[in-house]
């Protein structure tokens, strides 16, 4: 046997690759830890509120003449005390989201309902479109159509969500309002449809891979037995690819749930508790996106936003895990035999 020569370059390359893999892993874990750490203070008592009077007068610079009305308004603001009672379980489960208030209300119910409502609408639109498009591309499309369709739909996945959101805000909302005669221009429905644009490519890509991975012998056997192309696609290929398609839908829900910019722009962001699909909604992700920049760091409001982040994180994590299990175990088992 030839003696293995030690090559420094190879050794380094190997170590660097290993390190990168572990660094990515470490990042995820650290983000996990960070998000949960910032959530934790919710469960301890809030710091006692301070009034402006206790803090004393702030110095001013520059001389500005104020009218009487302006002075009165300033005094009113100075004497205001914020009653931050912290986020008790009762407060968190209420149906009002009014975090900036003399008595902050951190009810998560409308936000969770909002996220579920928009994701549901999005998936109801995106799933049939995405799956059928995938079936067409994988099973029916002539070669040239396949070569054109796949990359184009995949480009849609890289489409900036701000652009989709802006399109929904400016064009789609008016169109949908006129078409259905709606009272609210921006609502869960508009947001859901816009979100579907972001979800379709995910469902399409994964479903298409799943359908294309169905072994050729299944299709050929079906065709040889005299089944038409359509029968083969619907009764042989589609059932065989079900686990992969199911996984694609679940990943699509995860994407819809976490998407921020589109819903922030197109849903109206009113924290309402209602089952009406044509009323504005406020989703969890949009709430974080909109409010994080201005909260007082370390305050209850800040911690509650991180709590919402943790909920989102756990939700998408679970969905991804389920999808992974479906792709890995069910699909692979099916094709490879036991």
């Amino acid at each position: 046997m030839m003696k293995k020569r030690f090559r420094l370059s190879e050794f380094l390359a190997e170590k660097i690759i290993t390190a990168t893999a572990f660094i990515s892993f470490a990042f995820i874990v650290l983000i996990f830890v960070f998000v949960f750490r910032e959530t934790l203070p919710i469960f301890s008592a809030p710091e006692p509120a301070v009034s402006n009077e206790e803090m004393g007068e702030q110095e001013t610079y520059g001389d500005v003449q104020m009218s009487d009305a302006e002075k009165a308004s300033e005094v009113k603001q100075q004497n205001k005390i914020e009653l931050d009672e912290g986020a008790s379980l009762k407060n968190l489960s209420s149906d009002r989201w009014q975090p900036v208030s003399s008595k902050p209300k951190y009810g998560l119910v409308p936000l969770i309902i909002g996220s579920l409502k928009v994701s549901l609408i999005a998936i109801l639109f995106a799933a049939p479109v995405g799956i059928l498009a995938a079936l067409f591309t994988a099973a029916f499309a002539p070669r040239w159509a396949k070569e054109a369709l796949k990359p184009v739909i995949e480009i849609l996945a890289g489409f900036p969500s701000v652009v989709i959101g802006f399109f929904a805000l400016v064009v789609m909302a008016t169109f949908i309002q006129d078409a259905f005669g709606l009272e609210y221009r921006l609502n869960a429905f508009v947001g859901g449809i816009a979100l579907a644009f972001a979800v379709i490519p995910i469902i399409f890509t994964i479903s298409e891979d799943a359908i294309a991975a169905v072994p050729k012998n299944l299709t050929e056997a079906s065709l040889a037995l005299g089944a038409t192309k359509w029968q083969t696609a619907l009764k042989v290929v589609l059932p065989a690819a079900t686990p992969g398609i199911f996984a694609s839908v679940i990943l699509g829900i995860g994407r819809a749930f976490g998407e921020t910019m589109i819903v922030l722009m197109a849903t109206g962001n009113a924290a309402l508790v209602s089952a009406d699909l044509f009323e504005p909604v406020r989703t969890m992700s949009a709430t974080i996106g909109a409010e994080m920049a201005e909260v007082v760091f370390g305050e209850t409001h800040y911690n509650v936003l991180f709590l919402i982040g943790s909920i989102l994180f756990l939700f998408t994590f679970t969905l991804n895990a389920i999808a992974e299990i479906f792709i890995r175990q069910r699909l692979m088992k099916k094709f490879k035999g036991n």
Binding site: E59, T60, R96, V100, R185, L186, L264, N269, A270, R282
Partner: protein, 273 residues
């Protein structure tokens, strides 16, 4: 070769000499354009001062001041007691407040809306959800669609404290992620009402506001805001840790001077005097 080295040396030397004073400014998105104009003009006149302006929001700016990562913080709302407390813990000072400009908050309705004036009390009832139909304030018989800013905005907080008397907004209030989005929504919604800086008002009508039922109605124009006649007027602030000295004092004095205040009206806000 020697020549090149000499030039390089000279360049580093001179640039370090000219960039002796760096002032960082961070905060309110409402004020970011104004702050940039001020910085540009001031740097043109005083090449030895570098001013770096970033936005991010009033809250972000104030936390940067507390963390010591900015010299000046822009804010479209006054500092909260909790923030003052943090600043005191860190630097044992309450900070210094500088009023730099005035802003009138306009109420917008769609061009087709016949309502032209509202009293402050009516505005409050509309936004807290007590008045829900336009006919109650002299308009058409249709539901009022409420548009508001997001609760991260200084404008949201100001409006709530001063117009709604600190009551909560109606839950059906739609929160828009910026004044431009809000204006766009109202311009397309015949029954919509929204609020924001008058600098943005295009394609929509501004409402003339009365302090109470018997008083005169005023539009949010320069004259009315400057004289304090328009009832929804606020200040735009700068906060610093301690009484400004040196280059920072010169900069702030220049902002408060007539020259700095001209920039305020050019950007669409209202000067202090």
């Amino acid at each position: 070769m020697k020549k090149i080295i000499a030039t390089l040396l000279l360049m580093t030397f001179s640039s370090s000499m000219f960039a002796a004073d760096v002032i960082t400014v961070k905060g309110s998105d409402t004020m970011v354009i104004l702050a940039q104009r001020w910085a540009e003009l001031y740097m043109k006149k005083n090449p030895n001062v570098t001013i770096q302006v970033t936005g991010g929001g009033s809250g972000t700016g104030i936390s940067a001041l507390i963390n010591g990562t900015t010299d000046i913080c822009n804010a479209s709302r006054p500092m909260k007691p909790a923030e003052k407390q943090k600043l005191k813990l860190r630097f044992s000072t309450l900070g210094v407040e500088i009023k730099t400009a005035k802003d009138g908050i306009a109420l917008y309705v769609n061009e087709k809306n016949p309502v032209k004036t509202l009293t402050l009390a009516q505005v409050k009832d509309i936004y807290t959800g007590k008045i829900t139909n336009w006919k109650e304030v002299g308009g058409n018989d249709s539901r009022i669609i409420l548009y508001s800013r997001e609760n991260n905005s200084g404008t949201y907080v100001y409006f709530k404290e001063n117009v709604l008397d600190d009551e909560d907004y109606s839950p059906s209030c739609q929160n828009m992620p910026g004044t431009a989005a809000l204006v766009n929504a109202v311009a397309k919604d015949a029954n919509g009402i929204g609020y924001g800086g008058s600098a943005y008002a295009k394609g929509i009508n501004e409402i003339a506001v009365k302090s109470d039922a018997s008083s005169e109605a005023f539009l949010p124009n320069a004259q009315n805001v400057k004289e304090g006649k328009y009832p929804i007027t606020r200040f735009l602030f700068m906060y610093v840790k301690s009484k400004p000295t040196g280059a920072m004092k010169e900069y702030i004095d220049w902002i408060l001077s007539d020259e700095g205040q001209i920039v305020v009206s050019k950007v669409g806000y209202f000067p202090l005097r």
